[in-house]
């Protein structure tokens, strides 16, 4: 067990290192850098191409270290990032962590709401579909589930936007009404956010819910045909008690243990949806950083998301070993 964990943690760290190198290289691939844009935009009045502009450009490059070779830039950034200092964002003129931490909280809130939505919907529906196996309700739910799996989530966001605008006269997008966006945290802001949160939760949760319904249904069907269920029924227990008391508990096992995967999956998957719904999460921030060639900011976001994915996967593996003794045996 300890050997397995050590191996996993080492591999995780190695993955993170590879990811940071790849992210750094990829982000510097496009020709030009941030200073090019900055100089072209801001010193137009000093005269582009004049000696003053050239001097300013050179000074800026020096200040941000952009005149050094890539490997030194990487070393300077990575050696600090390893201890939580992600550098300075040239686009926002603030430390990266200051901007990211704020959005990270929102990202986790959205992901949490999505998980809540997914579970409260998928588990009862999955149970219902399994109990009504091969009946019309089962087929109907399976079909709906298929459609839920097939619709790309950003298109669902678009459709909801359209429906909201036309039928409910309600502008979908963002997590807060305009008055609350910059306001400090208060009871009012939390309530306001909750009234907006359900939309991204539906958009992001639909495909996951459909998938989970299928898993839940399949698990429960396996359990329901086992002899102990027949025994319980023969003893004269009420049908719902027969189902809920033991088979559902067993069928829930794999769902609980894969929870760890869900969080990183949602965080990485919400990037595109966040852009469409203009949510104040980390997705639009990454897009903006990439387009502005804000090297430190973009690499940091990719690495932070990567770290969350790796930690999430690790957690769910550990959880899996706790929940299911069979896996523990194999790993040893």
């Amino acid at each position: 067990m300890i050997a397995f964990m050590t191996r996993r943690i080492l591999l995780g760290l190695f993955t993170l290192w590879v990811l940071s190198v790849v992210a750094f290289i990829v982000i510097t691939l496009p020709p030009g850098d941030f200073v090019d844009d900055y100089v072209a935009n801001l010193i137009g009045d000093a005269g582009f191409g004049t000696p003053v502009a050239a001097l300013l450009e050179e000074n800026l490059r020096k200040e941000y270290g952009l005149d050094r070779p890539l490997i030194i830039q990487y070393y300077k950034w990575a050696s600090k990032a390893a201890f939580g200092d992600f550098g300075f964002s040239v686009e926002f003129q603030r430390p990266v962590w200051e901007i990211v931490s704020d959005k990270l909280l929102m990202t986790i809130i959205v992901a949490g709401a999505t998980i809540l939505f997914t579970w409260t919907l998928a588990i009862p529906i999955g149970i219902y579909a399994a109990v009504r196996h091969r009946k019309i309700e089962d087929y109907a739910l399976t079909f709906v589930g298929f459609i839920g799996l097939a619709i790309p989530d950003f298109l669902l966001a678009l459709a909801l936007m359209w429906i909201g605008y036309f039928y409910f006269d309600f502008s979908i997008g963002g997590l807060n009404t305009r008055e609350y966006v910059t306001a400090a945290w208060s009871m009012g802001k939390v309530v306001d956010m909750l009234s907006h949160l359900w939309i991204p939760a539906i958009v992001l949760g639909t495909s996951g819910t459909a998938g989970l319904i299928r898993i839940m249904r399949a698990n429960l069907l396996d359990e329901l045909s086992k002899p102990y269920v027949v025994t319980a029924r023969a003893k004269g227990l009420k049908e719902w008690r027969v189902v809920i008391k033991y088979p559902v508990r067993v069928a829930l096992n794999p769902i609980v243990s894969t929870a760890g995967y869900l969080l990183p999956f949602l965080i990485s998957g919400s990037v595109i949806v966040s852009v469409v719904l203009s949510l104040p999460t980390i997705g639009p921030l990454l897009l903006r950083a990439l387009l502005a060639e804000d090297l430190f900011m973009a690499s940091s976001i990719v690495v932070i998301l990567g770290a969350m994915t790796i930690v999430g996967t690790l957690l769910s593996d550990i959880l899996l070993m706790f929940v299911d003794p069979r896996i523990r045996m194999v790993k040893n």
Binding site: P152, M161, I267, V271, L290, L305
Partner: protein, 373 residues
């Protein structure tokens, strides 16, 4: 003939039928999969004959009909004669929005196999016939009917969506071919040789899978130079998508190879002096080719969604290329969606194509499983 004899005959047929014959019989029983397959074939046919199905040149802009909402088709005029009314465009004096009214007594008949703009079928055969349209010699303004409306430049949405089929659906095919190549080559090496090769390839797969796909993807797509030609961007995006998809196939192939490696027929082939490449491709691969086909089919919809999402964000293909994602880029904000809702229409073929591929792939997977009924 008695029933018993019939059964016997059918049984005998089953015994002598080839593997693909059996697969087809099983696939046929799956209604939704058949429907899915039909829809997929329809989509690819329209990709091939896009010029014929399109009503007007997808690149032809005409600002006089910009942001035209889908035109109503009137079915009756005395007898049955489908037609559209002539348009009069003007501007709303308050909002400067384009508004269109129709001439009530005008009558532009819709016909089949009409002459329209010239094109080359398969790039060689010169043609000017189109499936539907209006007789341009009768209609002075030479304006095709816009059944699905027009975009900001007055380009016909129907024709653009038909042309979008080409790019959106071939990206899926080429991308899947690429990831199949990567997955089969690396997966088979990993499973066949084992040892250090296996360890290295397995680590590569593990790392690729634990990387947060979408953020890195966006980073990669953003780094594709903007001045590249359309074809180069097309292939760059395809390769990009394939780089993340092959790992699934790689794992499947490796698992199968590990199981097959110990079989007697592999040993026999080796003793018979067959080279490694021959053992892998001639003896082992055909054993799970059908399974691979199914997995591949299920990977295509993922590719289609990926391309659409990237182009939608403005990181994938860019105009003048036409794909469903590029078309959807116009519908990115609520304002556009609210005022010009028909610009969201390209979402429909995306969803239908993805559904069709999913149903077809599901059917294929069941049919390819030799242990199913």
């Amino acid at each position: 003939m008695a029933d018993g004899e019939m059964d016997l005959l059918e049984d005998e047929q089953v015994f002598v039928a080839g593997q693909y014959q059996l697969m087809w019989w099983r696939f046929r029983k799956h209604r939704m999969a058949l429907v899915g397959a039909a829809v997929v074939i329809l989509f690819y046919t329209s990709a091939v004959f896009a010029d014929f199905i399109a009503i007007s040149d997808p690149a032809k802009s005409d600002v006089d009909v910009a942001y035209l909402s889908p035109q109503t088709i009137h079915w009756f005029d005395g007898g049955f004669s489908p037609h559209v009314k002539e348009l009069i465009g003007s501007r709303d004096p308050d909002t400067f929005k384009k508004v269109y009214t129709t001439k009530p007594d005008s009558h532009i008949p819709i016909m089949f196999l009409v002459r329209g703009y010239e094109y080359k079928l398969f790039g060689i055969i010169k043609l000017d016939r189109h499936l539907i349209g209006i007789d341009e010699s009768q209609n002075e303004e030479r304006r095709a009917p816009f059944f699905l409306g027009t975009d900001v430049q007055g380009r016909d949405m129907w024709s653009r969506m038909v042309f979008g089929t080409r790019v959106s659906l071939t990206i899926g095919l080429i991308g899947v071919a690429l990831s199949l190549f990567l997955g089969v080559t690396l997966g088979s090496m990993s499973g066949y040789y084992g040892g250090i090769v296996d360890v290295v390839i397995q680590r590569i797969i593990e790392i690729t899978r634990s990387v947060p796909t979408i953020p890195l993807w966006i980073a990669l797509a953003a780094s594709v130079p903007r001045d590249w030609s359309m074809i180069r961007i097309y292939f760059a995006i395809t390769i990009l998508i394939a780089l993340f998809v092959w790992t699934d196939l790689g794992r499947v192939v490796r698992g199968r190879f590990l199981a097959l490696r110990e079989e007697d027929f592999v040993m026999a082939a080796k003793i018979g002096g067959a080279s490694d490449v021959r053992v892998i491709f001639r003896h082992m691969l055909p054993n799970f080719a059908s399974h691979l086909i199914a997995s591949t089919t299920l990977a295509i919809p993922f590719m289609i969604i990926s391309e659409t999402a990237l182009s939608f964000l403005g990181l994938g293909l860019r105009a003048p290329a036409i794909s469903w994602g590029v078309l959807l880029q116009q519908a990115q904000n609520v304002q556009t969606v609210a005022i010009y809702p028909w610009l969201t229409l390209p979402a429909v073929p995306v969803t239908v194509a993805v559904l069709a591929f999913n149903f077809m792939g599901d059917g294929l997977r069941d049919a390819a499983d030799p242990y199913g009924n």
